[in-house]
Symmetry: D2
Amino acid sequence: MIKVGIVGATGYAGAEIVRLLLSHPQAEIKWYGSKSYVDQAYADVYKNFFKIVEDLCKEDDLSKMAEEVDVIFTATPQGYLASVISEEILQKAKVIDLSADFRLKDVSVYEKWYGIEHKATQFLEEAVYGLCEINREKIKNTRLLANPGCYTTCSILTAYPLVKEGYIDEKTLIVDAKSGTSGAGRGAKIPNLFCEVNESIKPYGVTTHRHTSEIEEQLGYAAGSDPLTINFTPHLVPMNRGILATEYANLKEVTRPDGTKGLPTEEMIREAYEKYYGNEYFIRILKKGEFPETRFVEGSNFVDIGFTVDERTGRVIAVGAIDNLVKGAAGQAVQNMNLMFGLPENMGLTMMPVFP
Amino acid sequence: MIKVGIVGATGYAGAEIVRLLLSHPQAEIKWYGSKSYVDQAYADVYKNFFKIVEDLCKEDDLSKMAEEVDVIFTATPQGYLASVISEEILQKAKVIDLSADFRLKDVSVYEKWYGIEHKATQFLEEAVYGLCEINREKIKNTRLLANPGCYTTCSILTAYPLVKEGYIDEKTLIVDAKSGTSGAGRGAKIPNLFCEVNESIKPYGVTTHRHTSEIEEQLGYAAGSDPLTINFTPHLVPMNRGILATEYANLKEVTRPDGTKGLPTEEMIREAYEKYYGNEYFIRILKKGEFPETRFVEGSNFVDIGFTVDERTGRVIAVGAIDNLVKGAAGQAVQNMNLMFGLPENMGLTMMPVFP
Amino acid sequence: MIKVGIVGATGYAGAEIVRLLLSHPQAEIKWYGSKSYVDQAYADVYKNFFKIVEDLCKEDDLSKMAEEVDVIFTATPQGYLASVISEEILQKAKVIDLSADFRLKDVSVYEKWYGIEHKATQFLEEAVYGLCEINREKIKNTRLLANPGCYTTCSILTAYPLVKEGYIDEKTLIVDAKSGTSGAGRGAKIPNLFCEVNESIKPYGVTTHRHTSEIEEQLGYAAGSDPLTINFTPHLVPMNRGILATEYANLKEVTRPDGTKGLPTEEMIREAYEKYYGNEYFIRILKKGEFPETRFVEGSNFVDIGFTVDERTGRVIAVGAIDNLVKGAAGQAVQNMNLMFGLPENMGLTMMPVFP
Amino acid sequence: MIKVGIVGATGYAGAEIVRLLLSHPQAEIKWYGSKSYVDQAYADVYKNFFKIVEDLCKEDDLSKMAEEVDVIFTATPQGYLASVISEEILQKAKVIDLSADFRLKDVSVYEKWYGIEHKATQFLEEAVYGLCEINREKIKNTRLLANPGCYTTCSILTAYPLVKEGYIDEKTLIVDAKSGTSGAGRGAKIPNLFCEVNESIKPYGVTTHRHTSEIEEQLGYAAGSDPLTINFTPHLVPMNRGILATEYANLKEVTRPDGTKGLPTEEMIREAYEKYYGNEYFIRILKKGEFPETRFVEGSNFVDIGFTVDERTGRVIAVGAIDNLVKGAAGQAVQNMNLMFGLPENMGLTMMPVFP
């Protein structure tokens, strides 16, 4: 059994790690870390776990935790892990970080978008970006894993084959994303009150959302280039879970399989998706003419992707959907844990989407 | 492996049976029956099952199905099963009926509340009412199981110890129940449109809801009497899943453990709940002062119950919560299947509640 | 024009007073009082009023306000008004208080249910309870008006004719109420976050909710007796607005119009409702067999009431619905203002319910 | 008083016309037309109007209606009005059509996007496209008004100044729109059931939504060119009301006020919005850095618009929000009626947005 510690177990992402690991046959939670609820019963903070979890919350002490567990999940605000991580800790326990601290390789980009100084740049090189379907082999051997952001997981996976194959003009890529409210966390803030969110939709972080930099860096790798420069616009939707990313890009003239020059066809694009994702358990490429809906992935680790070519405008429109708390956070973290410990990648993650 | 057929697999309750059985280690769905979608891919009707279920929907033919499976779930409108059930079918396959056809022992009560003639009264006697926590032993040996209604499961389990122990004046029992909208089914009806349900709450079936008769009969058995006569009022709540039953009853003077006469105390009532449910995996009696919320059982087979004694009015107020599609339908049906086939009662049903 | 000041204009009830008065032909808001947003533009706090309201928020200073306005609405926490009210203020401006400070005549009841000392008992006698349909004449002449609570407005109006006519056994009255989330106010609290409220229903304040005492006192007056002793159970519903009160009571034997003795008939009860509400603009007694739904009163000052007699149990079930922010708070406050200033009672309050 | 007839008064848009006209000081509804509810009380179909509207629904007979009223609103499916309109009718009553029949000047575009033959092309030329803020003068003199679509109203108004001033490269314009569910109408269809819409977001009509053609034609006029060719992608959001349009376009090099060449600055764009909308009652240009949220226009006829320039990508991002049933349908229709009858443009339309 893998012994697990969770820093920030009382946030929504932390609680979702708990939900998933309680059904995982090879993991056992040994430490429910919390900043605000130390010594309170975890099941008093998340009453869905009443009579299931007996443990009290303990302090968020990474060093002590590393003595007792094999892997630590950190579901914490940006800057926290970088301020406490050490070689000593990493020699004792693997760390899967759900914050952004080790996602960006370029410190100056991190400090620009996040507005905080990075306190542990010495670990940036070894940290592996945990987008399993793309970085699988590197993930298997790391001890410091940067779990991707929720928006970025959905945005990158949806665009990746298009960028990788050179089918789109990268500078035309626009990602219009929509998220359920659990992505905003469990903090007590007026804008997240029921009456403020319900019966409304709004954009936020327009041109400034931090996940932009993460998408740009990763898609730059896919393009074999410097980071891209894109527009990413998130919106808040009155639902608990789910992210939908609607992506637009101009198709680029390529040499087609039959030797002619022209824009990639819908069939070529489908083949690109099949090439990269055809064997992926968690990625479902929808049938022609179908587009994802967040309800069909809710509660599961699936990524649903649909696309079409608009011949009128010469653009491809690709749409991806995930559950932000599962594939966008806790589920992908567990998928990474499975990879890092040599377990079947989907162990404990085969739960069905819950609909309705 | 238990081979399973589902009649009405394309309704919400049917789809929930599918969701649960796909994760059940000892069951295999062999027949996805449907009235409206024959020959269509099941995963086209419920796209959450895309790339998971390959089967097409087949007709709702109970006789043919009985040739191929060990157990048939019927998630169908009232009257359907009674009109097609036969000794021949029952000799080939066990039947777990999610409709009301075999829930009421008294045909005249059935015909009065449901307004239809009962076409298979010869099976009424052998049918077992499948409220697992109360009828466990009988369930193990039946071949025809009447799975309780969603409201009734929640309403009866909440009141049962109070009635059984003689702690309440039964004729004062009032059940004010609230349900999510999935209980209304997947039929295309104006009152169930999003804009009609959202941002509103309404009572319906006031004094006339059919589940009244089921609660009255079962609580009558608990009281060792004729059926009770109670008020049951359901309300429609703008949420997908969940039932909450708020129950009120006057306490009755009893002889207390210390020999004095008086109303049952809160401690006595707690002991009564412990007596009947203390060992039940799926029933969680909340701590003093706490009351259930449907979000904490969503997606799971749990029943949460809280209660208090109001000394000002001499009443006990007990509140129960379930997920209407799980413990209120498909989950309890699978729990019954487990019992009927000698499996551990919670096999395939240990999924955690999903919150948020 | 009536000059108006609002203390607590930045809470939900305060903002609803603003919404209503901006369309009121005889009122002009002169002072937007706030504790947290002093010197900020009111339209920055409530962006629906952008380009409509130019004013800044000012401090919540009752004395200064009284110099400049004719009437002050106090939409503040319990205890506030009692701690600052004075004879001097009341000589300058009428006060309409949306808190509970002057609703209960019996100080000991107030202090017991609210847990705070009452600092202005000298005004309790002259304060008038502002349930317009019942206390209309007294309201016209008061300078200190206690605006009823949201739950109480709905609960009392639904039961009033039944109690007044002596048709029900008062000690059997049970009020099971359901409210939208705006009733919880705009405070930043975890239990009111979108993800905590959405997809769930819960009871709260079971046997202890403060509105109980207010219902008991007022219905006691209707009965011509001491306060009643009832059960009142509120529930939180995932919607912004609306209160539904489902009320149960045993009918009492009376002498019927034809001279026989027996329980009141449905016709007699309808006549009772007509007797008290037949001429009321804001109360709509629904047709036989119909029950209210909150969506049909949303945004308006209407009270919808439906009822039925259950001959099986000898009970009447009456259900009332209001918009908690309108008839349950700001709308009734404006209705009271109209009465206190000799204006037509429905001036500025004839807006239609908004559906869908 | 203007006498009004409504064809399709029992759809959501029709009911919203009713809601608005009941508060309009110069209009009187004489005919509640309906296809499905003839001879039923209108207030039985929309119970929010109980005790307010006494009329029965009458048949949808345009000719008879024209005898009795001054103006007819047609809130009907595409193709209906074109199949029944006649010179005779138009000589008796003005017609305000909420369908698409007379919105597009080019019949071939209509027939391509709508897939139906146009039966009244003779009236296409005289019909006026009723986007009040842009076509005000023409509207005043027409007898046949084509009321714009909900998505189009929001999409066009948001982009109009940018196109008109030549600030954007029109072929790069992308409109990603999100709508509440009332836009789907009151038809009983499974995809619009509460449980199908709630807790989900989905795109639909990707590259094929009919409103695309309307946006393209109107923005072509603004550009002084042929129709544009754009991408328009609508999404369904789990809320009753509201449309949000997020628009992206590459800025085009222009000569700036100071004589330099370069992309338009944020200030220039603000001036453009002020130039076209500075005096418009219903259009609110938000402050720098602010973006619209549908909750702040709900129930009102306002259009909120916010924008920013992204210097990294050289794009402008402009976002508009309306209430789809008001400015997107009934409100704009009434605004058009006011113009056509010489009334103040905002008469009956000054209701405040309802929040929360």
